[in-house]
Amino acid sequence: MSSAKRVKLDVPEQEEQPFIPILANELLEDTPLTKVFVGKIQDSKSISEVIKSLNLLLPIPSLAHLKRINKQEVLLVSTSDLAKDKIYEYLETNGFNINLLYTDFREVEVAKIAPKTRLQYEKVQKLWPCNFHPDKYLEKLVTNTLFNSLEINVHKTYMSMAILVATEAKKLHITEYDSGVVVVDPKVNSVVALGYSESHHNPCKHPSMVAIDNVAKTQSGGAWKSYEPIPDSSNLNLNGCHPKLFKILLKKFPHINFGASKFQIDHEQKEPSDPYLCTGYYIYLTREPCIMCAMALIHSRVKRVFYGKSSDNGGLGTLYKIHVIKDLNHHYEVFRTLCENKCELVNEL
């Protein structure tokens, strides 16, 4: 037998994620608690009889996520439903064999709703046993372990491109401000459109708004004409990229694809996979978008947003988290502080 040390090769090292997800408060906060009365079962042999009987006499549908039994204790009723001194009487008059329980009841705090994350689960589990069905994807998201090192490098590359867009657009007098946006279609791994502020022309032309309109240009749409698009030379559509910026980016990022998948104008031939607004797209921004832009990205059905530096008027973490508003019909994921320091430097130029 070889005495050589076995080297573990199959376990990939957990990569440090250079950004943090901006999550809904309900995922970050502790599970809300509520108070219940519990009783103690005299003989552990009668546990199943007690459960059966109580489920019939005193079901608690609002606390279905809780186990009825904790060792030899049993969950009786929510404190808001029955006073402590009425429990005995209630059980007895409803035909429960009261001799199965000790007569003194105890008030305990338990999870009011089912925990959503493992962290939340582990906390409330200590109070009273609880059902938990972990959502694998959500766990990765909340523990910030969603991406492997290869994917992280891709995100970093696109963000460094957004930074270059910011600096070059200013040099070219396309913008007067320092912010850059890159819209990527991860399905074909290609840069679909670029964005920058044109608010010196129009106060609504924030970087995201410009980027969204530039995406529309790749789908035979668009409302703001600000450059002559590059004629198609391949099977990808370059209408979303300002030609002057495109030339520079192509040189600096020779291994990156540019252009959007071809858009079918004819509705009859439309495939489900054809581009529709910004569906499925990732967007990389040097600055956190404002409330208007955050909502514009909801309307546009973006899939993921990565941004560098927070903004005072930001709508994705600073003033509010527009992307997690429950009532909206679309939600995207947000990650912040990607290349934050470099993005900050851009803003100081």
């Binding site: 106060p203 749409g221 514009a296």
Partner: protein, 180 residues
Amino acid sequence: MSNDANSDISAVITLADHEQYFMEKAFFYARQALDKQEVPVGCIFVYENNILAVGRNEVNKTKNATRHAEMICIDEILKHCKENDLDFKKMISFVDVYVTVEPCIMCAAALFNLNIRSITFGCRNDRFGGSTVYDVSKVIKPTTVVKGGYRACEAMELLKDFYKGQNPNAPLPKVRIKKS
């Protein structure tokens, strides 16, 4: 009564004659949007009692989901100011907006940031509303006065007609208008 003097959007409101006239115009453009298979929202920007811009949703036409009636009107005013060498920032702060549906979160933020003088709308926007779904005024502290509830049922009916035609399986937008 709402304790916020700046906004009263829960009541059914009655408007002065000239305001009713502007809302009628807004409805005209909402119906036009429906004819063009766009979400039926119509909007009018008024400056010193003159209609300076009209707009309706153009999302499908432009393939740009942000081309709402309000955004189109903002662009119109901007064009008007450029052509006539007028101060846009100053002018827009005296503009009164008449729109058939409560502005969405995006448009509310845009209008508040421009210090629009007032917004008068028809029905609430239960899907995206800038006060119904998320109250933008909490974070952008606007000077804009907002009131809504004029011909709300009619505005909502237009939306229902659109969503019915759009996708027979799509759920109808919830009607949530307080009765007086």
